[in-house]
Symmetry: C2
Subunit: 430 residues, 2 copies
Amino acid sequence: QGTRDHPPAQAALRDRLLSAVVACFKRHGAAAIDTPVLELRETLMGKYGEDTKLIYELQDQGGELLALRYDLTVPFARYLAMNKVTNMKRYHIAKVYRRDNPATTRGRYREFYQCDFDIAGQFDPMIPDAECLKIVHEILSDLQLGDFVIKVNDRRILNGVFAVCGVPESKFIPACSTVDKLDKVPWEEVRSEMVGEKGLSPEAADRIGEYVQLHGGLDLIERLLQDPKLSQNKLAKEGLGDMKLLFEYLTLFGITGKISFDLSLARGLDYYTGVIFEAVLLHQENEHVEEPVSVGSVAGGGRYDGLVGMFDPKGRKVPCVGVSIGIERIFSILEQRLKASGEKLRTTETQVLVATPQKHLLPARLKLISELWDAGIKAEMLYKKDPKLLKQLQYCEDTGIPLAAIVGEQELADGVVKLRDVPTREEVRM
Amino acid sequence: QGTRDHPPAQAALRDRLLSAVVACFKRHGAAAIDTPVLELRETLMGKYGEDTKLIYELQDQGGELLALRYDLTVPFARYLAMNKVTNMKRYHIAKVYRRDNPATTRGRYREFYQCDFDIAGQFDPMIPDAECLKIVHEILSDLQLGDFVIKVNDRRILNGVFAVCGVPESKFIPACSTVDKLDKVPWEEVRSEMVGEKGLSPEAADRIGEYVQLHGGLDLIERLLQDPKLSQNKLAKEGLGDMKLLFEYLTLFGITGKISFDLSLARGLDYYTGVIFEAVLLHQENEHVEEPVSVGSVAGGGRYDGLVGMFDPKGRKVPCVGVSIGIERIFSILEQRLKASGEKLRTTETQVLVATPQKHLLPARLKLISELWDAGIKAEMLYKKDPKLLKQLQYCEDTGIPLAAIVGEQELADGVVKLRDVPTREEVRM
């Protein structure tokens, strides 16, 4: 349940999509790493907040207690700590596992691919963070998914907001996960969860509401830097200062047009410590709508400076920032688009079919195809001793093979091959 | 235990190796499919003989009983039956899981990659089987692993041998798995296991011994076709007839030089029904040794005409033949060879480092690198505001980046970039 086979047409589309993502990651100088699907259970525990219950555990088989990885970020942090790596730019594309309620129509599965790019190391502020946003911008533009916006916020700003609104520090994380729902439900519902479930005072909730409904650009950052309450909070001030720097860098990259500083963005995971971001596609069906409607997140990430230290025996920290591309949702969109266009994706790359027009010519086919393979040419033949020529040409049409190399008795006698262009039916002897 | 991380240097080597294998599979017109790592336990049970105990099971989490896949063949057969596919040429490269005693120095892990190519469908005899052997020959030749031999046998011939030697049919499978050890232990040990553990009569064992120690080519096939006992056995006769046909096709492919018809080859798995084969690398250190010594299997496969039917509610059969490339052992060999050669594999593909020679030029670097990325050029920069030029050039040397694009105050004023060839130190302004 919640898993699926990928038949050839889907595998080919996925391959095309992943190639575009990998090309971008390599363009930014990332190296690949690979980690096991299995991790020790203790590695995964306490990293995912409320979602820890979604981890798949293996049966106790008399050895170590194992679980299937939940994401690629925690294994990356474990890898850095275990190998004492303090500086690395890596990408990793692999499957992760979540014992969630699958919603397959919306592209949510129990087994799915993640495509992660992360930069680990102690660097000058916001330079790697800006690159992560540039990567999201490049990939979403390359894939021509339509209009999108990348929302940006900072955990330090959010925590500063909570602090100045009178939330006790012990309730920052629950408050955060409630704010995170603002992209799906209206403020009124978020407020009542804060006051009810999370036990915040109504006054605190109202004050939070004034902040987290704000979004804008450099102007908003400047305004909040002047905000009488926020500007007194050390964390918020730091976060806003870095946010300003980030916008400077993004201006140099020429991508601020798609960036929105959005105080409602919170992200669910515990481990973020600084900048957080999320890219959403915008509805374009109704061009008259003033405020474009989001159709869901297709990339997300942020800074997590404390995670690696959790795996180091001496708690040595390695600051990290990274992005995960929501490949499954993008795949669903591209698949629907392909279906709508009627375009048929080839599932093989065969260049030529080796064919014979008469009986008893299997040896000639085997000899010729062997020569073609040895010369690096992608070639197929039908696995029949004496197939009809029509069947062979039909196979080319069905599978999109552009050429047929035909050897008949006459060609054998003349020492030539007849090469047929399948779509135009033109033939040359060679 | 028995799993490992692949750091960038290993991931890059693996990538290169897998690319060569995929290129061969595509050359033969195969399409890719993907199946989940998780399978229902019942799918895997009863397919792997004695090795069933090595299957990794997931904890019962109140839903389906799941296990990690043990190979890619059973999931392929399940896929064909589930989707009623009767005709397909596919490849699949993915990780499989075995709760075995790891022997990591010999490249045996609990999590490892398999690279499978299979042809499913009802075709004229031995044409797809011959192609599988051609593929093994191409891959091992391409990778320049040194001399190798591909041993070929047929389960029908083996069963025929057992029958004419007086083994009851119920003991064919145990006898088969004992014969399979002949490549590791001498005949005397195999014989005593047959008589002791497997309960065969000493006479039967001796008669089997006369057959299974034979190996050769077309001449041996002809001799056995004339064998007074074997030629009376229907199964053996069928197997030998097909073996002759296979050798005809392999002669047309020009690869019989590396093929050995070897009656000791049995292969452990239950599901094989016809041709079986295994490729082994030969020791070349001592050129004077008469009979080259095998250093282990690097590819194997065979025909399994009954497996798909086990998953079909009506038992409809889809004949299949396939090959699995032992990528982990090949990877170990290439890794050792790379280490011995001292060659350093680049882990990234970065073409140019964007550098600045003075302070306060971060904006210029960010602008230039952004232009390069947008133009599809693989570019990096150091994540420091004011790095020293020497450090930047050192980074190029360390990571193999061939070019540095330098923008200093003068270049900015002149509207040019200084492009430096890192190895030769030549510079041009452009």
